[in-house]
């Protein structure tokens, strides 16, 4: 094969490119690759496979542990590992395909790897998709020369409720430990003992506790680390796969949803290099089984004399139609932000066109002010300066962003967090102020931001208006003019932008009824919002569309079953503004919303198609510039930046003074909370503890030490929690997970009981 011809560009261009390229010969094939390319990649470019086990560029540079990639390089006395060798110009390489010496090395490695590896492929969950199985089939010998008993160890060991470890199968590639130590940086997994006794372990009997632990099951090239939920559920050739998108947070990780016999069996990453780089958080990976919880509502329910009673769909729609009629245009729609654009549009159309009301409660929204500063999430990895206005921890809002921030820091970026427990401590509600100060006042950070070629600003929590403040700062810094710079807002809900767009597309009138004749609550998140709950108290009637009766079950007059994001098809807009497709992996045990909404629309005389595709076409013509569903593809592209305009941001104000107590309560929604987590027993160990985080100063003043039982109270509400001293927390603040807050007000006092 000849060297690929470089086409296009001027002669000077071609020469410049040629300068950065090196020519290597691999198994007699010449190939030109950029300088510094690894040998494994260069060989792949030449069409030669160098098999690997331990090499995984996403967990760091090659370590040469497994010795599967041994190759002969002319001029080197010993065999070299392809994974640790960058190519140099004129290098001549012989892989196992052409070199006897390399083939001997590879077959030795194969024999040694299989020496103690159990032949339990029929039992092993990895069987059928196992790197060791595939490569030994191709490179291994059919016979073993091992006459001794294989090593037998206790198995499987649950290293966490979600992950099982089989040490017999482990080939010590150190992918998992490198992930834990170098990617997630949780330092939870490590190798213990040495030599033939080496094994992967967590610290003593502690579980692997970390928001990204599940990735090790996908990284493991053998069946040593497997998911306990997926254990023995299906074999790789039995499932159907849907290329969907995770709908639990605004990152929108690309997932492969695998189902068998109509049930989702596992969720794997699909690796969108600009969004998730092949990683998933444990919530996205393991929470799918909430769909099969016994508590899920599958049929409509109506408030009866004592409790909710089941009724048929025909009756339910009659009831709903009656409710809408009785409301006489006084209808309010509360959206969660977890709906697809299509579903939100259908609901909006029924309310705006069918019920004649334009009053809506939207989730904390991401304004389009940041569109001129749009960057792919992956740009974080290359950034020099990153400033995070972090009133809510990034991890809780958009977990994958935290992983990207870690990557950025490893690549040498300055990451500055501004917030109650940040590098620059600012109180709650002061993010906008901090933003404004950074734009207007001289500071070291401001100077660095101006000087940096690639700077990215992030806004996490601190109000939906944050986008405007952040845009003003980004504009002042000129980020719209710099490639690789930008600003991103992490909204509280997965599709906040999308549902707002869908709402806007459904009508152009603005009728705002004062009274609430009917409150339509869509989604469990909206149902748990205190604001929505207050509205429900004023509403004459309430209908809720939820997966679980949970919150709404206490006050809704009619509860209609919803479908989960894994069962839905449609589109969602993530925090970058990327429109991504969801593809329903399975049918839903509950009736599809769009099916009965279309029926309801027919009764109300609204023209509403019942299919997602038709709804998308309608939406697209109205608000999405007529783009087609097909143009989104499997890995959706990022829309281009829009032209920056100068605008006046509202002046930031200091937060109002506290009432109720001297300490400000930060009520946060932890990553592992919400109905998707509560109904998955395997994830309960990850849920936030009943703790109150308090600064050392405040703790000292009250005679509290870490681990003490304390009482948090305000306005007559008392909650007993365990104290945890958080040295990073700004004095005057306490943090409690929302699920342990009960009715606590913003100002609280903490004391020993």
């Amino acid at each position: 094969m000849s060297a690929p011809e470089l086409v296009g560009g001027s002669a000077a261009d071609r020469e410049r490119i040629a300068h950065e390229l090196v020519t290597v010969t691999i198994d007699g094939r010449q190939v030109q690759v950029p300088k510094g390319t690894g040998l494994v990649e260069a060989a792949a470019a030449a069409g030669v496979e160098i098999p690997v086990f331990c090499y995984e560029p996403r967990v760091g540079a090659g370590i040469g542990a497994c010795r599967m990639c041994l190759v002969e390089i002319e001029g080197m006395p010993k065999l070299q590992t392809g994974c640790t060798t960058p190519v140099t110009d004129g290098m001549v390489v012989h892989t196992a395909g052409t070199s006897e010496q390399a083939a001997a090395g590879q077959s030795a490695t194969m024999e040694f790897l299989l020496l103690n590896h159990p032949l339990d492929c029929p039992v092993c969950d990895k069987g059928g998709e196992c790197a060791l199985q595939d490569l030994s089939f191709r490179y291994g010998s059919g016979k073993t020369r091992m006459t001794f008993r294989k090593r037998s160890l206790e198995k499987p060991i649950p290293i966490s409720p979600t992950i099982a470890l089989d040490r017999e199968r482990c080939i010590m590639c150190f992918r998992c430990t490198r992930f834990s130590q170098e990617v997630a940086q949780d330092e939870e997994l490590s190798a213990v003992n040495r030599g033939a006794l080496s094994m992967i372990a967590t610290f003593e009997d502690e579980p692997y506790r970390g928001p990204f632990s599940g990735n090790v099951t996908e990284l493991c090239p053998v069946g040593a680390l497997t998911s306990t939920q997926y254990r023995f559920k299906a074999r790789p050739w039995e499932y159907e796969q849907a290329a969907s998108v995770c709908g639990l947070c605004p990152v929108g990780c690309n997932v492969a949803v695998q189902s068998r016999e109509g049930r989702v069996q596992r969720v794997l990453s699909r690796n969108h290099p600009e969004v998730d780089r092949g990683w998933l958080c444990d919530k996205g990976r393991f929470s799918y089984s909430h769909l099969y919880s016994e508590e899920r509502i599958l049929t409509p329910r109506r408030r009866g004399v004592r409790e909710l009673e089941e009724l048929g769909w025909e009756q339910a729609l009659d009831e709903l139609e009656g409710m809408i009629e009785r409301a006489q245009g006084e209808v309010v729609l509360a959206l969660s932000g977890s709906e697809t654009l299509e579903l939100a549009y259908a609901l909006a159309k029924i309310v705006r066109q069918g019920a004649g009301s334009d009053r809506v409660v939207l989730p904390e929204q991401a304004a389009d002010a940041l569109d001129p500063f749009r960057v792919p999430i992956s740009a974080l990895a290359e950034a020099e300066e990153i400033v995070v206005f972090e009133e809510c921890p990034v991890l809780d809002r958009a977990p994958l962003i935290e992983l990207w921030l870690k990557q950025a820091r490893r690549n040498g970026a300055h990451v500055t967090r501004i917030g109650p427990s940040g590098d620059i401590q600012r109180g709650r509600g002061e993010a906008a102020l901090a933003c404004q100060e950074l734009a207007e006042k001289e500071s070291a950070l401001g100077k660095r931001l101006r000087a940096a070629e690639r700077a990215i600003l992030l806004w996490s929590g601190g109000g939906g208006a944050g986008g405007c403040h952040l845009a003003a700062l980004a504009h002042a810094l000129g980020l719209h003019e710099k490639e690789g710079s930008g600003a991103l807002l992490l909204p509280a809900s997965p599709n906040a932008r999308g549902v707002a767009e869908a709402w806007a597309a459904a009508g152009d009138e603005n009728r705002q009824p004062r009274q609430i004749g009917l409150l339509v609550v869509s989604g469990d998140e909206a149902a748990s919002e205190p604001q929505v709950r207050q509205l429900a108290e004023h509403a004459r009637a309430t209908v809720a569309l939820t997966l679980f009766a949970g919150d709404s079950g206490e006050w809704a007059d009619l509860v209609l079953p919803a479908t989960g994001y894994l069962e839905r098809s449609g589109t969602m807009r993530n925090l970058e503004g990327r429109l991504q497709r969801l593809r329903g992996a399975t049918g839903s045990p509950a009736r599809r919303e769009l099916s009965w909404l279309a029926e309801l629309a027919g009764r109300l005389g609204v023209d509403l198609p019942g299919s997602e595709a038709a709804l998308f076409t309608e939406l697209s013509a109205k608000v999405l510039d007529g783009i087609s569903l097909a143009s989104l593809g499997d890995r959706a592209p990022l829309p281009p930046r829009v032209e920056a305009q100068t605008f006046e941001a509202a002046r930031a104000e200091s937060p109002p003074t506290l009432l109720g107590g001297p300490l400000e309560l930060i009520r946060y929604r932890a990553l592992f909370s919400g109905p998707e987590v509560e109904h998955v027993p395997e994830l309960s160990f990850q849920r936030p503890a009943a703790e109150v985080e308090i600064s050392p100063e405040d703790a000292d003043r009250r005679g509290i030490s870490g681990g003490n039982e304390v009482v948090v109270r305000s306005n007559g509400t008392r909650v007993t929690l365990r104290a945890r001293i958080n040295a990073a927390l700004l004095p005057g603040m306490v943090r409690v997970a929302a699920e342990h807050c009960a009715e606590l007000a913003r100002g609280v006092e903490v004391s020993r009981p």
């Binding site: 029929p122 039992v123 499987p156 023995f232 050739w237 039995e238």
Partner: protein, 166 residues
């Protein structure tokens, strides 16, 4: 002309006359059952280890090999108080839809534990199609009716080691 006609008629009469003195070939099935060839592929059986544990570990390789997709396996994990098979995993559900099965024997070849083998029974008629879905219990049980099998020594092809006579 006439001569050749007579010869033709004579020949055919000869055939008829010959057959008159031959014995009958009709077999009185079902009163009489002709022994089947030892490698005849009939209804499947699931086999047990000598200690009573099931050989099947629920690996679904048979289902993967099946060209007509008539096998359904749902696995589960063995526990200390419910030990079904020798390994970690066992087949909680094992079903063969015999109305679909073409008796090709691929499942038998794919099985890594000789758990599923094809027996010699061919009398599988039922009044209802759903009765032809054989469950694990049915496949584990000895067949009610036994099919006679010819002596393997009469044939010069070996019977595979994993075939059990039924």
């Amino acid at each position: 002309m006439i001569g050749s006609t007579l010869i033709t008629v004579g020949r055919s009469l000869g055939v008829t006359l010959k057959q008159i003195f031959r014995g009958t070939v009709t077999e009185q099935y079902p009163e009489y059952k002709r022994p089947v060839y030892p490698r005849f592929r009939g209804r499947h059986r699931l086999n047990l280890h000598e200690n009573g544990l099931e050989k099947c570990v629920g690996c679904s390789l048979c289902a993967a090999a099946c060209p007509v997709d008539c096998i359904r396996v749902v696995a589960a994990e063995n526990s200390a108080d419910n030990r079904v098979s020798a390994g970690e995993r066992y087949a909680r559900i094992y079903e063969i839809n015999l109305s679909r099965c073409i008796f090709c024997g691929y499942c038998e070849l794919a099985c890594p534990f000789d758990a599923i083998t094809l027996g010699n029974d061919y009398e599988l008629s039922e009044y209802s199609r759903s009765d032809l879905i054989y469950t694990k219990e049915m496949l584990l049980a000895d067949p009610i009716k036994r099919t006679p099998v010819a002596d393997a020594a009469l044939y010069d092809t070996p019977t595979p080691y994993y075939r059990t006579d039924s």
